[in-house]
Amino acid sequence: MPTLYLPCDSLARAVGADEVATALITQAHERPLPLELQRTSSRGLYWLEPLLEVDTPQGRFGFGPLTAADVPSVLEALGDPSAHPLALGLVEDLPYLKTQQRLLFARAGITRPLSLDDYRAHGGFEGLNRSVTLGGEETATEVFDSGLRGRGGAAFPAGIKWRTVRLTEAAQKYIVCNADEGDSGTFADRMLMEGDPFLLIEGMAIAGLCVGATYGYIYVRSEYPDAVATLREALEIARSNGYLGANVGGSGLAFDMEVRVGAGAYICGEETALLDSLEGKRGIVRAKPPIPALKGLFGQPTLVHNVLTLASVPLILAKGAQFYRDYGMGRSLGTMPFQLAGNVRHGGLVERAFGLTLRELVDDYGGGTASGRPLKAAQVGGPLGAWVPPSQFDTPLDYEAFAAMGAMLGHGGVVVADDSLDMAQMARFAMEFCAEESCGKCTPCRIGSTRGVEVIDRLLAAPDASGRDEQVIILKDLCDTMQYGSLCALGGMVSFPVASALKHFPADFGLQPSEAEQ
């Protein structure tokens, strides 16, 4: 009886995976053709979804992208799959996947999200087990030595946070997972939560035992209902199997957690606003210090990490710090799941060690623009990331290299644009986005973002060069005020997309290059 694999990931479902599944089951039953269909996570090769895989002696063989109408022909072709027009060959030999370094997403597309057996069969809980053996101090040392940095965007060394929370005396400590993945073009957190929820649970449990926290929260954005449902089910399973509760993984220590759902505010992805929101308040950014590691949720020491950071921990514990830090370059160690989106032919998840270039990512993996028109720029790191022109595409994807050119890697989202995109409108949009999502606490962001939209409108409407010059000066001053004056990264980084658009694409603003440079 052949075994077939089809993702239950929400993106795959959005493009018809459920219809394909229904057709497969119905038609196999009618024929009759006994088969087993497993709903797995997604490989993250999104341009191929729905991507159906079938076991062959050589490995899993793929078809895609499928529609329900392709099902009869696929069923026919199971004996000789390569004959099918949508045959992709062995999935793991696809260059897009083969060249990746899947550490964090090692199980992507292979296991069923809520199968504890699948998870354990693929290395699940090895990290937790080793951590229990090592004890808290050595676990923290492993995390520190691995060089892991926060994957939410700030890239703060995780080990320092762990040590701080661990060494802070308190009756109650918390682990908070930031799963408010709001950046444009990003989906790695969602993929992981929907596809490999036990990995996140394991990472949080290791963190809880290590720092002495007994409770954790996963704060998931409301736009991710599938992730919420999957996580909640996974928590039940983990709890009933002793991976959560009074005696986590036989450690004798307690840790439990729950899922909380956000309410649609981008700012609640900022860690302190997230904490306020978790406390039941308006999501408003807190001034730091005190840092959450010392005074976080309900004023208690709290380890706040992005999904990917926490999910990286089981592997680090299982394989050791050295294994992890052998990947990457400079101070950017390990792998990063980059997310290719926007106007790109092959959108999807690309996990690679830091250090490949943006060009490799966009051209080699992405295959250029989806429209086929010339590439104009890529915005890296979400709506507050800089627009990077092709001239800078050879920059290695490394935190420091990007910072040096006034850009950032952020959460690893890359949105590709072709030459039809008006960068002045993108600069305006950045300000508009900031105005829409500003929490309203600090003045530069609260008023500045609204003024930013107005200034760009005046700049674009200016009848002559002197009028434009005047507005450019104001806009640059405003960007500077927001960058250095804002309380958090929302107001602080909106200048990146604005200033980069202005710098690299002055013509879109009706400016001569010299005007933009002043």
Binding site: R282, K288, E436, C445, S449, T450, E454, L487
Partner: protein, 960 residues
Amino acid sequence: MITLFDPKTDIDLGTPARDSDVHVTLNIDGRSISVPEGTSVMRAAALLGTTIPKLCATDSLEAFGSCRMCLVEIDGMRGYPASCTTPVSEGMTVHTQTPKLATLRRNVMELYISDHPLDCLTCSANGNCELQTVAGQVGLREVRYGYEGDNHLADVKDTSNPYFDYDPSKCIVCNRCVRACEETQGTFALTITGRGFESRVAAAGGDDFLDSECVSCGACVQACPTATLMEKSVVELGQPERSVITTCAYCGVGCSFRAEMKGEQLVRMVPDKNGQANHGHSCVKGRFAWGYATHPDRITKPMIRQHINDPWQEVSWDEAVTYAASEFRRLQQKYGRDSIGGITSSRCTNEETYLVQKLVRAAFGNNNVDTCARVCHSPTGYGLKQTLGESAGTQSFDSVMQADVILVMGANPSDAHPVFASQLKRRLREGARLIVIDPRRIDLVDSVHARAEYHLALRPGTNVAMLNALAHVIVTEGLLNQAFIDARCEGSDFANWREFVSRPENSPEVLGAICGVPAADIRAAARLYATGGNAAIYYGLGVTEHSQGSTAVMGIANLAMATGNIGREGVGVNPLRGQNNVQGSCDMGSFPHELPGYRHVSNEVVRTQFEQAWNVTLQSEPGLRIPNMFEAALGGSFKGLYCQGEDIAQSDPNTQHVTAALSAMECVVVQDIFLNETARFAHVFLPGSSFLEKDGTFTNAERRISRVRKVMEPLGGKADWEGTVALANALGYPMNYKHPSEIMDEIARLTPTFTNVSYAELERHGSLQWPCNAAAPDGTPTMHIEEFVRGKGRFMLTGYVPTEEKVNSRYPLLLTTGRILSQYNVGAQTRRTENVAWHEEDRLEIHPTDAESRGINEGDWVGIGSRAGQTVLRARITERVAPGVVYTTFHFPESGANVITTDNSDWATNCPEYKVTAVEVSRVYHPSEWQKRYQAFSDEQDRLLKDRRQARGDKAEVRR
């Protein structure tokens, strides 16, 4: 710790002080300073005299970090940290003025002003606007964004609150108001609605401020740096030109205020941040409800009349006091020396109270002096004296910040002592645990961020049973602090008490049934009190105003001694005093049996001292208490009364009995600012002076003596103490004080607990807590530290004796009474202010079950009948009261709350049993007979006042 009073500390240092033994040295703009660890860079700079521009920071609130004006550069730190949220660290080097900072600050200010009206010259904050000041500091010269962009300039003003306006067009969203509502007041009524540019301040729970959950404490108005939240009085009158520090004349918290003046006109009252009782906070009454002081109802000329049915005759002060004196002497001649007496006021100053009792004892020659403390906290005086040795609370208000468990019994601080309630709630938010013992679900039981772990909703009248049950648990479960008891208390009394409370009949299982509270809850509360760390008891008139009021006070003291919760910060026994100077009036010898300092008149040594100082012979027998005066009046032996600043006809129980007694007197002299209910029965009216019109001192619930300072001339020509002096002189007993400070000097000479008190010392310290003498020259914040005032603490037996006021089929409900936030006591003041916007009538609270069985709906007129009388009020149906209990306030005379209350009183002190009256309630359609009679009499008295004959040059016509 005693902090010396320094008026110069009115500078806003930006962030609150931090207390730490560790000091950190840093360098700011080349100057070095050492400050406690945890201090902000902003505060450190301000202490150096360095001004860093700021808008969202103010030192009454925790740093917020939103305005971004206070950015600085710090060597070794990236970017431009906000100095308000950045704590100092050792060796830190800070630059507060650099070209980059100047640009950033100016550009941020430019953003502010791009959404702010440019009407500075006509703005109510002109001259006192932080935005204006900071715009000047940063040198803003132009707004390059123009004024055509998105803005809030057309936002509509909310003028619903009677005392302040909210003008959103001027709001800079600094959140100071919201934070003040949370941190300072603890009500959490304000919030920011909207996000980003649309962020606006809003009051929750209503369409506008008046309709919202806002309690109008004004903390937001005080915190506002612009004209967004502004007192209507300032809008109307303009900015004040001078200010005088004085003390509030409402409740026993005794808040210190800056009376901000324009000439003789009061512009606004701003709580003084150096005030040691209130630390810059206030409530709606103290801050806003002062309009009564210049209300047209003020009577500013002395008046006399022969009979109470005669019209009043305005006369000069001389004529008035001469007439009063001649009447008093006539009565004494005819009916005997003891046929007259006086009542001192807990609203007046210590000096005035002292003078009235001195006048009675020295000039009347008897001890017929009493005070309104008789009807509120006399059991406190008695009970604490018996057990601890001193008739006063043991702590400072600040002590609550060290408490781990707070037991509130028979008190409703958020309505009656709001500023203390704010402090208490702050402590609860920090994690202290709360037990409430009260028949009613007061706000503290279940409010925002403050919740009682146990609410023991006992039946009115069962306090002593409850206290015994709590004691039983502590003793029988081994929760006693035996070491404290052995060291500090009388052994045999303790043994007796232990045996007594251990008896099975005192167990929660037995007494809980009487109280109507589950035994398990009583046990749990007792365990928490005994074992939860520092435990402090705060109690009010719900404890004292009972037939066993004194017993209950002793029961409370027993609990504190048994658990060692006395003699240090964070613990203690704390009576919440109802009036501004109840403590003081008791201290000043207002009771018939006690000379100043709680010394019995029978004590020959003490009496001799006073006799020598006053140059008279004093009586050694206690005189008449207020209820005795009434009895004697009705019996024909008591004929004349000098009543200063007290409205016994409204405030004392069984009104009809009181008015009958007053009607039976031949000379009632009332000294008051209004023609109050008692004055309707008076023959001589002496115009009183408000607290704004005199110098003196008040003593609050924490024994804190604070200065009252004259900010305007007395409208009636004399301060109250001057009126008493005039009356004494007219009686032939010379008094020659030129200033109240001389009276205080005399008090200090004659009262051992006041030896070191003088106006000069008060000036130096800001305030002083007695005992203040050679042993404690800076005063005594916490009492009984080493030993009790009486030496060893004495456990007193507290057998529970049910009140005689019992429910039966005719009177099946229990009425209890209390106060509401916006009104004060008999309402003479607050009814004459805009506070009526919140409470324009007294209502009867009744549980839905009791209402339904009587066919009563919300707002219906209901008759309330007791064994003493009947009145009619409108019903409010609420689950705040338990089934079987009804509740009302007594702020409006026509409500007749005290027509219903009975003559029952405390066995030891005669404090009336206001808190328990058996009643029946039924739907009615017209006022009670009493109310009809009251209305007719009041109308007639109003006519007699209106038709008063103006003073002329010639002699008054009413001379006998």
